[in-house]
Symmetry: C2
Subunit: 248 residues, 2 copies
């Protein structure tokens, strides 16, 4: 049985750096906490190392390294008293042709980003493309909010200014969500076979030149002129495109 | 010009206790931060005291007390470096007869609760009733997520086991959101004139005996068997009940 009792352990010190984006980018590794997330990582073939609190059972068919709570807290870089932590390799996605796509322009809040990924997977979307300015998908907060959905749905960083024209050439209609003069209400949208929906930044919305690339602009009906949280707006659009029955 | 420079100031020490729920309950006061929230409080007639950082302008027609940053941080009980803080009286709501109602059973996360209140106001709901086990609506996190929408829509604590039968006697149909054997899909719901929608706890859903009180159970369509965040589920239901056009 492998054990680690010292927070000075070299591998723990190394892995604890994974709380930083630049270290995750460099190593293509990231951390997950808790049984559910580790299970997801294992199923996806992404689990590389498993650290479990001494005295706890190992519910996985994967060799564990048993650690003190101090070592686990050092590893996670927060005093969350996690009982199990997984070190994962980033999932590899096939960038094939998709039909139901979400595109995120500078969605900065990790909680919003994660929730959107979780909902997109639930609603059977094929892929998410996100701009460089978005939160990191492998940030612990994003991961928790996503409930690990990114193990199932491709979440791919892309330059939306290049990706949108590429998708359009594949026959995919792109809809911007924006309070634009040419915006129509969500209920008025004629939903095509293959589509991409663009959501924007929490404060600024979608960049103007990205809106200009989209063939369609839509807005969500509201009684009072308030803004919606971007996760809420994304979910309502996805649900409507996917499930609302049209008697045409 | 009134100023406070000492964190030992009696009123500041007193007001700083408002970060605790029991103090808010006792005094019927709560704190808000930032220009937008203070504006909302002022318009709603709920602003009682206004504290602004020395050297900043007062954009409100309301007398300010100018404070050092240390005093403002003491007041807010967090090192958020807020430039303006309002002490507010809790809004008084008329408990009249409503037609579009949300009922929350033990929604514990302040961010979820606040987002639901914000969306309910945007979608023209009349009132929210929430059980004792929910997050506190006057918690700073709930307030921020709600964007102050509770100044516009009644958010009332209630015993749902009493409130649901009362609403039913008023002719309001009550829908539980639950993965129950009698649940029908959201798209199949025949939407009545007056309705209440019940949402449940993040982990446990709605308590069984509360589900039993509801005439209808509904579930949201999904491609993969995942759970949805309660704020997302609430918003999709509200949007659908409010805006989806039915060609019957």
């Amino acid at each position: 049985m492998k054990t680690i009792e010292s927070i000075q352990n070299k591998i723990i010190k190394e892995r604890s750096k994974l709380s930083l984006k630049k270290e995750r980018d460099k190593s293509s590794l990231f951390l997950v906490e808790g049984k559910h997330m580790i299970e997801e990582a294992l199923q996806a073939g992404c689990l590389k190392e498993l650290y479990i609190l001494m005295g706890e059972n190992n519910p996985f068919s994967f060799e564990a390294i048993y650690c003190t709570q101090a070592v686990l807290n050092k590893l996670s870089n927060q005093n969350s008293d996690a009982k199990m932590i997984g070190v994962c390799t980033k999932p590899k996605y096939e960038d094939k042709e998709f039909s139901r796509i979400l595109l995120l322009d500078t969605v900065q809040d990790p909680g919003n980003f994660g929730t959107i990924v979780r909902t997109a997977h639930s609603f059977g979307f094929d892929a998410i493309f996100y701009s460089k300015g978005c939160a990191d998908i492998f940030n612990l907060k994003t991961i928790q909010s996503s409930q690990g959905a990114f193990f199932h749905i491709p979440v791919i960083q892309a330059d939306l200014r290049e990706k949108i024209p590429t998708l359009q050439k594949q026959g995919i209609s792109i809809f911007a969500t924006a309070l634009h003069e040419k915006s129509i209400f969500l209920q008025e949208v004629v939903i095509p076979e293959r589509y991409g929906i663009v959501l924007g930044n929490e404060g600024q919305g979608i960049a103007k030149d990205i809106i200009a690339l989209c063939e369609h602009c839509l807005k969500i009906e509201m009684d009072t002129f308030e803004s919606l949280n971007v996760g809420i707006a994304a979910s309502i659009c996805m649900y409507h495109f996917r499930y609302t029955r049209k008697e045409v």
